[in-house]
Structures are given as structure tokens and as C-alpha cells.
């Protein structure tokens, strides 16, 4: 009784300061605005979680049926409901790695030019043009791939490679124009802008005195860039490469249009192949059995996890470089 009395008695006299401040802010609308924006921001988190859950749920059929064998077998036969993912994983990795081998030297060189050599105005203009290149829709790269790169591959690049490097097993076999190498070349053009713009940003954060110290010791411009500036920014550059790899792995339209769409594992880069994204794009709308849909969704989940991990690592590396420099240890 007395306890109740004190509460009632004291309530108007001694409300906690936090509560009063809260009511006051509520009256101002600040807390309401805070909560509303918080809810909208949390939607992002929910969306990401929902995405993973839906993919996981909708591929339970094929997970239950094939288990880990899904990743070890290479038969893809919708008619007999046999699904193995190996050729698609192989095609995705081969084309992406090929794209990296071609785009990293090109992109890094261009980024060095833009951050170290070019005057600021020229550098900004070129960077803007390169950003435009990154904005070109992938289906347009696909159209150019079909009508420009494929014929070029069949008549010029392919024969030239066979003539000079034909002793390597990767450059042997028939060349129809479509295949791993063509897809790799188209992907190169598509991911190079990402490498350049992120690497340039990272290189520009390298402190000026690092360059000056190297030059003062008698290094040439190139030596100061290659032995001091690039190592300083290396984890950020690695981050940009990871971002590019993630983009190449998930690229759909351009690859679908030039890779040949034939699930096989071949040593020759001239051979046609298939990628995860391409098979999903081609078959999802026409999949008639639940198992087929489920297998395609499992492929999607695999692709999602690959890009998710790469993107996660890339962000951490870029953040680390921009905060304190990837100091050479």
C-alpha cells in the first residue's frame, strides 16, 4: 500500500530524466522520425536475409536429392532429371579468371596513369569517360560481343593465337568464334572500368611524401610508383580486383550471348562452354519440372555465395586501405 502511495505521490515529482527527455523529443517528432527512418533502413537488412532464406528454401529439392554430388557431377539432363553443376562452375571460373588475367594489367596501368602522371583535369575527364563505360548496359556489350567480337575471334584473333601459341593445349581444337576466350574478352572490357576507378581512388589516397621520399633517393618516376606507391595501396588494389572478379562471376547477358551455351569441361579456350548465370538465364523460364527449377536455384545460391564472399572481402580491404594505408610491413 505504502509502496503504491509513494509511486503515485512521487510520480509527478520525480519522473526519470530519460523518460521526460524521451517524451519531450517525442513531442518534437524527433523520436518518431528516428524510428520511421530506422524501420526503412532495417528493410535493407531484412531484404538481404530474406534473399538468402528464399534461395535456401527453394532449392531444398535438389539439395535433398543430390547433396554434395551436385558439385562433383557433370551431367545436366532436364529430361531425366539428372543435374550436376560442375561444367557451369568450371565455365564461370574459367571465363572470370581469364577476364582478370587480361584486365588487371590493363586496369592497373590505366589507374597508374590517371593517378600518377596525368594532370588533374585530364585525369578527371578520362575517369568520367571510364565511368560512362561502366554504365553501358550489359546487354549492349552482349550485342557487340555477338556481332563484333565473335566474328573477329573466328577470323583474326583465333587463327593468330593458333599460329603463334598453338603448341599450348589451351589454344588447340576447333574455333567457332563463341566460347571461353570470347566470353573472357567481353568480360575484360566490362570489368576494366571497375578496376580503374577503384584503383585510382585508392592510389590517390597514398600520401604525397611517400612519392617525394622515393624520388629524393634517386628513384625514377616509374620506380617510385611501382616500388613505393603501388605496394602502399596494394590491399585496396586487391580489393578492386575482388570487386571486378565478383562482377565477372555474376555477369549474365554478355556471357550468355557469346559463351556458346554448351555444358562441357574442355581444356581448349576456343571450346564453347556454359556459365552459372547463363544457364539460369536460358533455362529458368522454361524449366518444367520442380527439380529443374530447384537445381537452377541451387546454382543461383552458389553464385550468390561466391560473389557475396568476394564482395565482403573487397569492401574490408578497400576500407582498410583508405583508413590507414596498407603499409608494407
Amino acid at each position: 500500500m505504502s509502496a503504491t502511495a509513494t509511486t503515485i505521490e512521487n510520480a509527478p515529482l520525480r519522473p526519470s530524466r530519460g523518460a521526460r527527455a524521451f517524451i519531450h523529443r517525442l513531442r518534437n517528432g524527433d523520436e518518431i522520425a528516428h524510428i520511421i527512418t530506422l524501420v526503412f533502413a532495417s528493410t535493407i537488412l531484412l531484404l538481404a536475409i530474406l534473399l538468402v532464406c528464399i534461395l535456401w528454401r527453394d532449392c531444398h529439392l535438389s539439395r535433398a536429392q543430390f547433396g554434395w554430388a551436385f558439385f562433383r557431377t557433370s551431367t545436366w539432363d532436364p529430361v531425366f532429371s539428372q543435374f550436376g553443376a560442375l561444367p557451369f562452375i568450371y565455365g564461370t571460373l574459367v571465363t572470370s579468371v581469364l577476364a582478370l588475367i587480361l584486365s588487371v594489367p590493363l586496369g592497373l596501368a590505366a589507374a597508374i596513369f590517371l593517378s600518377e602522371l596525368a594532370p588533374r583535369k585530364i585525369s578527371d575527364t578520362i575517369s568520367f569517360l571510364i565511368d560512362l563505360l561502366a554504365a553501358v548496359p550489359s546487354v549492349i556489350y552482349g550485342v557487340l560481343g555477338i556481332f563484333v567480337v565473335v566474328p573477329l575471334m573466328r577470323t583474326t584473333i583465333g587463327p593468330a593465337l593458333k599460329h603463334t601459341l598453338g603448341f599450348l593445349p589451351i589454344f588447340q581444337g576447333p574455333n567457332y568464334g563463341v566460347g571461353f576466350l570470347t566470353a573472357g574478352i567481353v568480360l575484360t572490357i566490362m570489368v576494366v572500368p571497375f578496376i580503374i576507378s577503384v584503383s585510382r581512388e585508392v592510389l590517390l589516397t597514398v600520401p604525397r611524401d611517400q612519392r617525394e621520399a622515393a624520388l629524393a633517393l634517386g628513384a625514377t618516376r616509374w620506380e617510385s610508383t611501382w616500388k613505393v606507391v603501388v605496394p602502399w595501396a596494394r590491399s585496396g588494389i586487391l580489393g578492386s580486383i575482388f570487386l571486378a572478379l565478383a562482377r565477372a562471376l555474376g555477369e549474365t547477358m554478355a556471357v550468355t550471348m557469346v559463351i556458346g551455351n554448351d555444358p562441357r569441361i574442355a581444356t581448349s579456350l576456343f571450346s564453347s562452354g556454359y556459365s552459372i548465370a547463363a544457364v539460369i538465364a536460358n533455362e529458368f523460364a522454361e524449366a518444367f519440372s520442380d527439380m529443374h527449377v530447384s537445381s537452377l536455384i541451387e546454382l543461383g545460391l552458389v553464385l550468390f555465395l561466391m560473389t557475396f564472399i568476394l564482395n565482403g572481402l573487397a569492401r574490408i580491404m578497400i576500407i582498410a586501405t583508405e583508413r590507414g594505408g596498407g603499409r608494407p610491413s
Binding site: T37, T43, L106, V139, V143, W222, F308, R315
Partner: protein, 284 residues
């Protein structure tokens, strides 16, 4: 001996630095090659029919892609209605209200969501809106594009809100305005130009997306009414026509590609121009 070494180092310097310049100009020249090729191949097929007529069967002349242009507009409208509020308001949260750790989580998730391949977003939208009801719809495609728009708008909104000087906020608060009034009447108007730019760029980005549309809106040869049917879309038309074996369709694919590319590039160039003019105007 040391003279030879110096000569070698200096030559290496010149050669490597030249190569970096060559690389940069080679990459930039690709942009002009793409543009030139599309204008050359697609320009001649652009005419009044192209923008106003429905597709016709192979062999007949005078067909167009009017239904695809309308379809793309409807998809963008849906994406904007569903995606922009979330992106914009969440951006306000990150820039104005967010604490440290939860904001980091949201920002990180946003970046990851931005990096998810568009085909996966397509599967997600199909699993939510197509597989359960067993038919393709404009709505499902719009939802897929909306999911892609959210992370882009969110980050650009946050960035532009952060670039509003703190003194403006302090001034408003010193006059007794509450925080949300400060944001609504001072900060948001100050960042308006930048936010609109971000929205336009986000729309331009998803306007060219093809992969998430293939199995959500499917494509359509005719006009679509309402939001619950399969619809045509410009990127889908480009894809389907380009992989078809007919020259007539190839020509239309080039033309549609030119239209799409022009839209995307003009939006990018226009917003860039507007932004840089706004920035210099602000400093004067």
C-alpha cells in the same frame, strides 16, 4: 657499368610510363568504338515507326518496339514507386540518425546487396512473385528492379546529405527547430539537387538491366494492360532480337541498343554537368 644501369632504368621508366598512358587511352577508346558502332549500325533503323508501332513478323516492314518502350517505362515507374522511398528514407537514417555500429551493418549490407548479380535478384523476385502464382507479371519485374534501385539510391542520398555543411544544421537548431524539422526544411532542400541526381542515375542503371527481367516479365509481342501480365521491355527486346537469326531483327536490336545507350549516357552526362555547375555556383 653504372652508366649502362642508369640508361636501363631510365629506359624502363619511359617505356612503362608510356604503356600506362596507352592502356588508359585504349580503355577510353572502347567507349567511342561502342558509341560509333551503335550509331553506324542502329542509326539508319531509327524512324517514326520504330517508336510508335508494334513488332511485326519477320519479313514484313515497318514494325517498331513501342510496346517495349512503354513496358520499360512501366517497369521503371514500379521500381521507383517501390524502391525509391526505402532508399531515400534509409539514406536519411544513415546520414542523420544512425549510430555507429548499426549504421555500419546497414551500410555494409547495402554494399553487398549492390554487388549481388542481377540474375540472382531475378530469381529472388521470381521466387516471391512468379513461382507461387504461376504466371509472369509486370509487377514482378518492377519488384526486381526496385530491389536493385534501393542500394544505389541509399548510398547516393547518404553521400549528398553528408556533404551539407554542419553549420546549416546548427543554424536551424539554434533557431529552435527540432531535428526532424531541420532535416525536412533545411538539410533535404540543400541536398535536393544531389539526391535527384542520384535517383536519375539509379533509374538509368536499372533501365538497362536484362537478366532480372527474363523470368519475371518474360516479354510480349503486344500491348500490355495493367500490371499483372507479361510485358515487353527494351533490354529484353535487344537480347531476343540479337540472338534471333533474322537480319530484320538484328537491325532493330541495334536501333533499340542505340536508344537505350543514348538514354543511359545522356542521363549520366546530364547529371554530371548539372552537379558540377551546382557545385561551382554554390561556391561563388
Amino acid at each position: 657499368m653504372s652508366g649502362l644501369r642508369l640508361f636501363w632504368r631510365k629506359s624502363l621508366n619511359v617505356v612503362m610510363l608510356t604503356l600506362t598512358g596507352v592502356a588508359a587511352f585504349a580503355v577510353v577508346s572502347v567507349l567511342f568504338m561502342i558509341l560509333g558502332y551503335l550509331v553506324w549500325k542502329g542509326g539508319s533503323s531509327l524512324n517514326w515507326n520504330f517508336f510508335t508501332k508494334l513488332p511485326v513478323p519477320v519479313g514484313e516492314t515497318g514494325g517498331g518496339v513501342a510496346n517495349a518502350i512503354l513496358g520499360s517505362m512501366k517497369l521503371l515507374l514500379l521500381a521507383a514507386v517501390m524502391g525509391l522511398p526505402i532508399g531515400l528514407i534509409a539514406g536519411v537514417y544513415l546520414a542523420e540518425f544512425g549510430g555507429k555500429s548499426y549504421s555500419f551493418v546497414i551500410r555494409y549490407t547495402t554494399d553487398l546487396l549492390n554487388g549481388v548479380p542481377s540474375i540472382i535478384i531475378g530469381i529472388f523476385a521470381a521466387a516471391l512473385f512468379v513461382l507461387p502464382v504461376h504466371h509472369y507479371s509486370t509487377f514482378a519485374g518492377g519488384a526486381a528492379l526496385a530491389i536493385m534501385i534501393i542500394p544505389i539510391t541509399l548510398r547516393s542520398t547518404e553521400e549528398f546529405l553528408r556533404s551539407v555543411p554542419g553549420s546549416l544544421r546548427e543554424g536551424a537548431m539554434a533557431l529552435g527547430a527540432s531535428k526532424w524539422r531541420t532535416i525536412a526544411t533545411v538539410v533535404l532542400p540543400a541536398a535536393k539537387g544531389g539526391i535527384i541526381t542520384g535517383v536519375l542515375l539509379a533509374l538509368a542503371r536499372v533501365a538497362g538491366e536484362t537478366a532480372p527481367l527474363i523470368f519475371t516479365v518474360l516479354g510480349n509481342q503486344y500491348w500490355t494492360t495493367g500490371w499483372n501480365q507479361p510485358t515487353a521491355a527494351l533490354p529484353l527486346v535487344i537480347y531476343n532480337y540479337a540472338i534471333s537469326p533474322y537480319d530484320d531483327y538484328h537491325r532493330q536490336a541495334w536501333a533499340a541498343g542505340l536508344v537505350l545507350l543514348a538514354l543511359v549516357l545522356l542521363t549520366n552526362i546530364g547529371t554530371r554537368f548539372a552537379l558540377s555547375r551546382g557545385a561551382s555556383g554554390g561556391s561563388n
